[in-house]
Each structure stands twice: as structure tokens, then as C-alpha cells.
Amino acid sequence: MEATVPEVIRTVPLQYYVFLATALFAIGVVGVLTRRNAIIIFMCIELMLNAVNVLLTAFSAYRADPNGQIFVFFIMAVAAAEVAVGLGIIVMIYRNFQTTDVNLLSRLKW
């Protein structure tokens, strides 16, 4: 199995990709928790999503199994659709409240 992994990829160890993905994911989590602007939060969510994508691609390449990369394409397509819906919602929120600060949006409760 090792033989099928191209030389170019083997020059960077798998751990590096794992570290990168973890760092990206952590940045995303912290961003979601600390920022108040809905658009920034949204970007941080995308960051987490892409951290997972990186991880999937890396493992896929190292194990010479294309399933992981195909899976990433699906995630990207679904994420694109989700962005369209999410941004639409944020635009509507801004039109109605003249703000995208999530702390002010506390009306969705009992």
C-alpha cells in the first residue's frame, strides 16, 4: 500500500496535516465562541468545515483510497448550498434589525 503513495506527498509527514487541521478547527471553535458578528461566526464555521476537509483529503491520499476525496467534493457542494441559505438568513436579519450582532438577537425564546 505504501508503494502506491506518490513521492511528492510522502515528503510531508501525515502528522503535519493533522496539526494543521487541528489548529484550523480550534481557531474556528474559538471564533464561534468569542465573536458576536454573525458573519464572522459564519466564516468560523466554514473554517471548521474546511479543517475537516483537509484531514479527510490527507488521510485519503496517504491511504491511497480515493473515497475520502470524493467525500470532500460532496461536503463542498453541500457547504456551498448551506452558505447560500445562511447568508440569505443573515441578510434578512440585517434588514429587519439593522444589526448582525448575535447577542442582540435573543427574541427566539419562550
Partner: protein, 648 residues
């Protein structure tokens, strides 16, 4: 052992067979959905046309009939070894019943166009009538006991709907409920019978069950199990065909519009019990004890109902009791294994009883909904067609030759004579009573002076053609219908010969019972006696109600004890009320008070309150602040991951 079913190759496309019950069903849907959008005449024509269509198809099948076969429509229920296909049985019995149901049904539909013209729910009425015909056709067409049961319940439902058709009247609603509930008692027996059939024969398909039964491969316990099965089936027949002790619903069922009484409670539904016994004749032949019970109950019902009929003053009640009594004759015939005679009487009875009910309806129509015989009289002059046709009906039921009832009743009585002289004597006496009370009705309604109000007298009129035409057709049938079974006159018993293949197995099992034929002299003597009984009844009624012009007294007038007993129908309704209805009501009231109110209600309400309270508390978790949600979510994920993998 290989089971050979009767031929399964139907000579016509399946679609044709499906159409027979489907046409009335389409009529039911159209009339029901378009209820008030159709005019009264259009609704009536639509309803009648669909039944006419079924009648025409039945005629085609009847005249091209060569051998028995089943028509497979689809696999209906398949569970383990239980296989119930949805299929039709086409044989002599189902064809005769098809013609009867659609033919007489069609005439009654046509009659209803005139009778119900002034009602505001004509569409509803015709849709129920069509649904009834549909159920009845399913009942006679089905090729196994389960389909029979579907039709059986279907006609029960329609009977409920039609008896309570004028549902603004509480009494009528109660009558409808009574019919439904009493029929349920019988249905329970029938259902248990079907279960037992399946357990014993591992099938519910007619062909298979009867063949297995006739081969007697079950050894010595066949007779016992057959007795159990047939007794249970007979309980079902008792309910549907109004035999003692489950007959009380039928007289009350007269609450429905008169065409309903004619269709359901005279010509078709009540004969379903007879049909079922005929269908299962092999099983009944194997169970002589059951046959004895059937015969005795039939005879008792015939006599009992006839005596009640003597004292009734409501024109429809008299007819109702005479129906119960005639049904008793049919079961008497079944009990002495006069199977084809029983079906013969079903046919002739359908003709003359439908005729008399419709004639009675015509009288009620003319009298502005008056049903009391004490207010009628002298109607002969005003309703000539009704009078003449009604007279033919009365002659037929009284067994006066050459009218239809004579042939069938005489055949039954001669079978009974071979079986038991005592039962024959009672049957003959009942026949005398029948003639007496039918002509009492005729003389009270059509002879003498008019006893109603001036307004009613002013309003008297002969019914429209849509009502008199069916009367005339039925009168012709009641007059000549008997010749399908008149071996002495025509040299051949057409009906019995036609039906003979149905009883092949029974004949093989008990050849002796089928071989019994009274010799010529005895037969002539029997005919003479039964005609004499009928004539005597008529003459007595004539003397009593025309020559002496005696009139029934008012309801609360004092009567001698025996007459009082009969007048109050032997207090059977009161007895049932005290024995079953009141205790049930008391039990329900007790349950309501102590179980429902103090146990069940607090329990269910408590559950509701607990859930409500819990929800009220949980509301506070939902703050609406997005940040809190996010932190809780992250903490949750970390916890889940930590608990899952932290232990490694």
C-alpha cells in the same frame, strides 16, 4: 390427497364479473358524493340504472351457464398456511341469488323513485340502497367464508343506515341500533364458526372445505366438530334471518322507509341466513343434531310470529311478523333437508313479500303516512291497482293455487310430513294462521267504510306509475313464479333439477334423506289439506272482518288475557329489556361512576398535568441567547468525546 376444485376457467373476461358488484358501488359513490347536486329523479334513475346493469350481466351469466367455476381476482390474505384469495364462486346458487337480488332490487329502486320523491335526502337514500345491493352481491358472489362475512357485515351496516334513515326521530334511531346490536350477537357466532372451519379444514374456500368434509377424512370426530361448526353458523343465521330468539329487531326495523323494508327485511338481507346454510349444506348434512335444532327453531319461529301477527294493527308490523314467520318456514325446510324447497320458498317469498311491502307502502303513501289499520278501510275503490296486486300477494302467501306460495309451501310441508307428522301438523296450523292474518289485513284496509280523517280521504290517490309498475311486475311473478317448481303440472321440477348439482356431496352422504318422496295419493292428500287450511283462514277472516265487520279496538281497551298476551307480543321485548338491556345499562352506569370517574380520569388527567408541568419548568432553559447555546453545544461535544475516548 389432491384437492380438485371446480373448474377455474371462467368463460368471460374477469372484468365482467367485477362489474356486477362494482356498478352499484359506483352508483353509491356518485349518489353519495353528488348528494344534493343531483335532482331527485336523476338520483333515482342513476341508482336504478346501476342495479339494472348488474341484473343484465347476471342474466347473461345465467343463460350461458354450463359448469361451476370460480373467478380469481387477486390474492387477498396470505399468512403462513392461511390463504384467502379474493375470488367469486359462480354456480347455480349464486346465480339464482344474483338474479333475485338484482331483479327484485331493481324493481324496488324504481318504486323508490316515486315513493321517496318528496323526501329531501333522496341522494342519500339511493346511495345507501346501492351500497346495500353491493354488499349483498359481494355476499352471494364470494367463494369463501371470509368474503361471505364481508358482505354479511356490509348488509348489516346498510340495514342500520337505512332503518335509521329518518334520523331526526329518536325511536327510529333506537330501532336501527337494536337491529345492529342484535345482529352483532349472531355475527359473533358466525365468526367463531369460520374460525372453527379454518382450524378443522385448514381452509375457508368453499370448494376445498366441502370436499374435505364430504370425504370424511377426519374419522369419528367429524360429526362432533361439524355439529359445533354448524351450530355456530346457525347462530349467525338466526341473527340475520330473524329466528327465535334473535328476531326482535325485524319488527322494529319497520321504522325505515317502506322500500327499505321490502328490499332488506323481506326480499334479500334476511334470506342471507338461508343462503349461508344452503352454501354450507354439506356441513349441515354431516350434523343431523344441528339440522334437528334448525328445524325446531324454524317451526317455533313460524308459529310464534304468526300468532303475534294475528293481533297487530300496524300494517307494516303485520307484514314484518309474517316475514319472520315465513323465514321460519325456510329454516324448517332446511332442517328436514329440503334444501331446494327452501331456496324455492326464498324466491317465491321474495316475490310476494316485496309485492306486499310495496303495496303497503303505496297504501301508506296514499294515506299521508298513516300506518294504522284502524284508520283505513274501503281503499279498494281509491287504489284499484294496489288492491288487486295486494290481493295476489295475499293469495300467494296463503298458499292458494296456482299462486307462487302454494307450490313452495306445499313442497316444504310434504318434506316435513316425511320427516315428522307432528311438525307437519304445526306447520299446517301456521299456514292457516298465515292466511287468516293476511286476509284480516286485506279486509281491514281495503273493504268496508273509510275510517280515516276527512283530510286523509280528500288526499287519497292511486300511486304514480313508477310505483304501480313494479307492483304489477311483482304481482305477475307472485302469480306465476311457482311454476318453476310444479312437477305435477309440468312433469318436471325445473328449479330442483337446476339446483341438484349443489347438493351432490350431501346426497352422497345421506342418500336416504333425498330419496324420500311421498307417494302420489299422500301428496294429493297433503295438497288438499294445506289448501283447505288456507281457504279456512280466508273464510274465517271474511266472516270476522267483512260479514260481522269487526274492528280492532283501541290500544288501551281491556282484552281477555290470551289476546292481551299476543297483542303485547308475549312481552318478549319487555323480557329482553329486563334481562339484558337494563343490567347492561346499570353495569355501564356503575363503571362510569366508579371506574371511569374515580380511577381512569384522574390517571389520564394526571399524566397530562405532569407533562404540562415538566414543560413549564424546561422552558427556562431556552434563553434565546445564541452564545449560551453555542457554549453549551461545544461543552456537550467535548463531554461526549471525552467520555467516549478519554478512558482509553
Amino acid at each position: 390427497m389432491e384437492i380438485v376444485l371446480p373448474g377455474t376457467n371462467a368463460p368471460y373476461p374477469t372484468f365482467l364479473y367485477v362489474l356486477i358488484p362494482l356498478l352499484p358501488f359506483v352508483g353509491f359513490l356518485l349518489n353519495g358524493l353528488l348528494n344534493k347536486r343531483l335532482s331527485a329523479t336523476a338520483a333515482g334513475l342513476l341508482g336504478s340504472a346501476t342495479v339494472l346493469g348488474s341484473f343484465v350481466i347476471s342474466l347473461v351469466l345465467f343463460f350461458n351457464f354450463k359448469y361451476q367455476y370460480t373467478v380469481e381476482l387477486f390474492d387477498w390474505i396470505t399468512v403462513g398456511s392461511l390463504q384467502i384469495p379474493f375470488s367469486y364462486q359462480i354456480d347455480q346458487l349464486s346465480l339464482v341469488m344474483l338474479l333475485l337480488v338484482t331483479g327484485v332490487g331493481f324493481l324496488i329502486h324504481v318504486y323508490s323513485i316515486g315513493y321517496m320523491a318528496h323526501d329531501e335526502n333522496v341522494g342519500k337514500f339511493f346511495s345507501f340502497l346501492n351500497l346495500f345491493i353491493f354488499s349483498m352481491l359481494v355476499l352471494v358472489l364470494g367463494s369463501n367464508f371470509v368474503i361471505l362475512f364481508i358482505g354479511w357485515e356490509g348488509v348489516g351496516l346498510c340495514s342500520y343506515l337505512l332503518i335509521g334513515f329518518w334520523n331526526t326521530n329518536t325511536d327510529y334511531n333506537n330501532a336501527a341500533k337494536k337491529a345492529f346490536i342484535i345482529n352483532r350477537i349472531g355475527d359473533l357466532g358466525f365468526l367463531l364458526g369460520i374460525f372453527l372451519i379454518y382450524l378443522t379444514f385448514n381452509s375457508v374456500q368453499y370448494g376445498e372445505v366441502f370436499q374435505k368434509a364430504s370425504l370424511s377424512q377426519f374419522g369419528p370426530y367429524t360429526a362432533g366438530i361439524c355439529t359445533a361448526i354448524t351450530l355456530l353458523l346457525f347462530v349467525g343465521a338466526m341473527g340475520k334471518s330473524a329466528q327465535l330468539p334473535l328476531y326482535t329487531w325485524l319488527p322494529d326495523a319497520m321504522a325505515g322507509p317502506t322500500p327499505v323494508s321490502a328490499l332488506i327485511h323481506a326480499a334479500t338481507m334476511v334470506t342471507a341466513g338461508v343462503y349461508m346454510v344452503l352454501r354450507a349444506n354439506v356441513l349441515f348434512t354431516l350434523a343431523p343434531q344441528t339440522l334437528e335444532v334448525v328445524g325446531i327453531i324454524g317451526l317455533a319461529t313460524a308459529l310464534f310470529a304468526a300468532t303475534i301477527g294475528l293481533a297487530q294493527n300496524d300494517i307494516k308490523k303485520v307484514l314484518a311478523y309474517s316475514t319472520v314467520s315465513q323465514l321460519g318456514y325456510m329454516f324448517l325446510a332446511l332442517g328436514v333437508m329440503g334444501y331446494s324447497s327452501s331456496l324455492f320458498h326464498v324466491l317465491t317469498h321474495a316475490f310476494f313479500k316485496a309485492l306486499m311491502f310495496l303495496g303497503g307502502g303505496s297504501v301508506i303513501h296514499a294515506m299521508s303516512n298513516e300506518q294504522d289499520l284502524r284508520r283505513m278501510g274501503g281503499l279498494r275503490k281509491y287504489l284499484p291497482v294496489t288492491f288487486f296486486t295486494f290481493l295476489i300477494g295475499c293469495l300467494a302467501i296463503s298458499g292458494i293455487p296456482p299462486f307462487a306460495g302454494f307450490f313452495s309451501k306445499d313442497e316444504i310441508l310434504s318434506h316435513v310430513y316425511e320427516h315428522s307428522k307432528l311438525m307437519w301438523a304445526v306447520g299446517l296450523f301456521t299456514s292457516f294462521l298465515t292466511a287468516f292474518y293476511m286476509f284480516r289485513l286485506l279486509f281491514l284496509a281495503f273493504f268496508g267504510e273509510f275510517r280515516g280523517t276527512e283530510e286523509q280521504k280528500h288526499h287519497l290517490h292511486e300511486s304514480p306509475a313508477s310505483m304501480t309498475l313494479p307492483l304489477i311486475v311483482l304481482a305477475i311473478l307472485a302469480a306465476v313464479g311457482g311454476f318453476m317448481g310444479a312437477p305435477m303440472l309440468l312433469g318436471k321440477h325445473y328449479l330442483a333439477d337446476y339446483l341438484a348439482p349443489l347438493f351432490t356431496y350431501s346426497r352422497r352422504l345421506n342418500p336416504a334423506a333425498f330419496a324420500l318422496e311421498p307417494d302420489h295419493g299422500t301428496e294429493l292428500m297433503l295438497i288438499g289439506l294445506s289448501v283447505a287450511a288456507g281457504v279456512l283462514g280466508i273464510v274465517l277472516a271474511y266472516v270476522q272482518y267483512v260479514v260481522r265487520a269487526q274492528r280492532p279496538v283501541a290500544d288501551d281497551a281491556p282484552r281477555p288475557a290470551p289476546e292481551n298476551l299476543v297483542y303485547h307480543k308475549y312481552y318478549i321485548d319487555e323480557l329482553y329489556d329486563a334481562l339484558f338491556v337494563r343490567p347492561t345499562m346499570a353495569l355501564s352506569r356503575g363503571l362510569y361512576k366508579f371506574v371511569e370517574n374515580s380511577v381512569l380520569n384522574p390517571l389520564t388527567n394526571g399524566f397530562g398535568r405532569a407533562v404540562q408541568g415538566g414543560g413549564f419548568l424546561l422552558r427556562y432553559v431556552q434563553t434565546g441567547a445564541v452564545e449560551t447555546y453555542l457554549i453549551l453545544m461545544v461543552v456537550g461535544i467535548v463531554l461526549i468525546l471525552g467520555l467516549n475516548y478519554g478512558r482509553l
